[in-house]
Amino acid sequence: MNGIMVDNQLKIDLSGHIDSSNAPATETELMAVRESQPHEGLILDLKDLAYISSAGLRIVLRLRKLEPALKLINVSAEVYEILDMTGFTEMIPVEKAYRTLSVEGCEIIGRGANGAVYRIDQDTVVKVYHSADCLPDVQRERELARKAFVLGIPTAIPYDVVRVGESYGSVFELLNSKSFSKLIAAQPEQIDYYVGLYVDLMQKMHTTHVKPGDMPEMKAVALDWAEFLRDYLPAHQAEKLVALVKAVPDRDTMLHGDYHTNNIVMQNDEVLIIDMDTLCVGHPIFELASMYLGFVAFGELDPDVTQSFLKLPYETACLFWRKALARYLGTTDEARVREVEEKAMVIGYARLMRRTIRRNGKNTEEGRACIALCEQRLSQLLVRVDDLSF
């Protein structure tokens, strides 16, 4: 029996069967490991525990008196049932083990940077991540998607998180869909139709209220971007940028955070949103800023970036952005559209500049060109723009 330290918590694995025949020995060993290392909390990992008798349960009770923060994790369905029947689940935090799923022989229907998507049956897919370290992110995305789904936002049903080999996966409803990027690329003459659907869904999100604390606040994130740039922008510009972001009114309505045409899909006549890991709440200007980046700014220096990212010609992406913005604002007044676009550009270029610097942009030719563009745009915009809300 070994104990390992995880964030000041001592984690000990218990395995096999624990019953009256080996309970005393198990307890002696457990106490020895417990005393060998100073710790703030104790976690028993029951991943390989198949059975625990009442003699074993009494060890857990005694341990809990010594360790008020005791927690049991990776509990199998069988052991969970025992703990549940005996009332232990009400006394001690108990985390069930994830269901194990094999993807052997399953059809691969997509591959991405973080993992691969397998079809498990007629109605469900599992997104398997390359690394087991992703678990907190997997759970976070699932939780956000679930909250949005219950609020009526059309997205694939997020089912459970499962264990797949040495890594984790997230089970989703299978969508038989095409992205708006693909649909527009195939029928550019239908652009207005797709702009309409795209904006309708965006407005639905932006009028959906979220309970406080359920989703992160975008304004706090944007404020971090602005503060980061204090070291890189002239002081008066940085000061104004921070002040502008601070003055954006707080909102409790939902933003997608990455609302571009790859993430909006159509299944039959249904329009759905995917990739829910960026969901947040805030003023819509933050959504518009990220859209401006996706459709316009990313491809500004090299239009091929847009082509490979959205699979759309740069001109089409820019046209889509302008049409969507006008429709979202409900106006055909060019001056009004430009006014709001400039507000979005302030946050957009601030984000792009920070991101480029953080990705080592100062040391590459492309990075330096991008940073220079952001600096130039921000120096002009920050003179003209006095309010980011609209």
Partner: protein
């Protein structure tokens, strides 16, 4: 999917049979939109519902929203497969399941 209805004054019971998915959900949505006027008690009987997709859940959600304003909605005879979906998605907290 087969939808059968029994109306008794301002009470309506809708029985769903088969798969409520992306191809059949619009039918149910259209039927409910037509029938819910004046209804104060809606019962959805899911005894013979084999599968429910996100599109189906959204129809239930919008029916629930309508009924919140004009009366009440109860979902009954939920089988294990569908119940699992309700629980996993958090719908079990929103719907009145009898």
């Amino acid at each position: 999917m087969t939808i059968t209805k029994e109306q008794n004054g301002s009470s309506l019971t809708v029985n769903l049979q088969g798969r409520l998915d992306t191809t059949t959900a619009p039918d149910l949505d259209a039927e409910l939109k037509e029938d819910l006027a004046g209804i104060q008690a809606l019962t959805l009987d899911l005894k013979e519902l084999e599968y429910i997709s996100s599109a189906g859940l959204r129809v239930l959600l919008s029916a629930q929203k309508v009924m919140n304003k004009q009366g009440s909605m109860v979902v009954r005879n939920v089988n294990q497969t569908v119940m699992e979906v309700f629980e996993i998605t958090g719908f079990s907290d929103i719907l009145t399941i009898a």
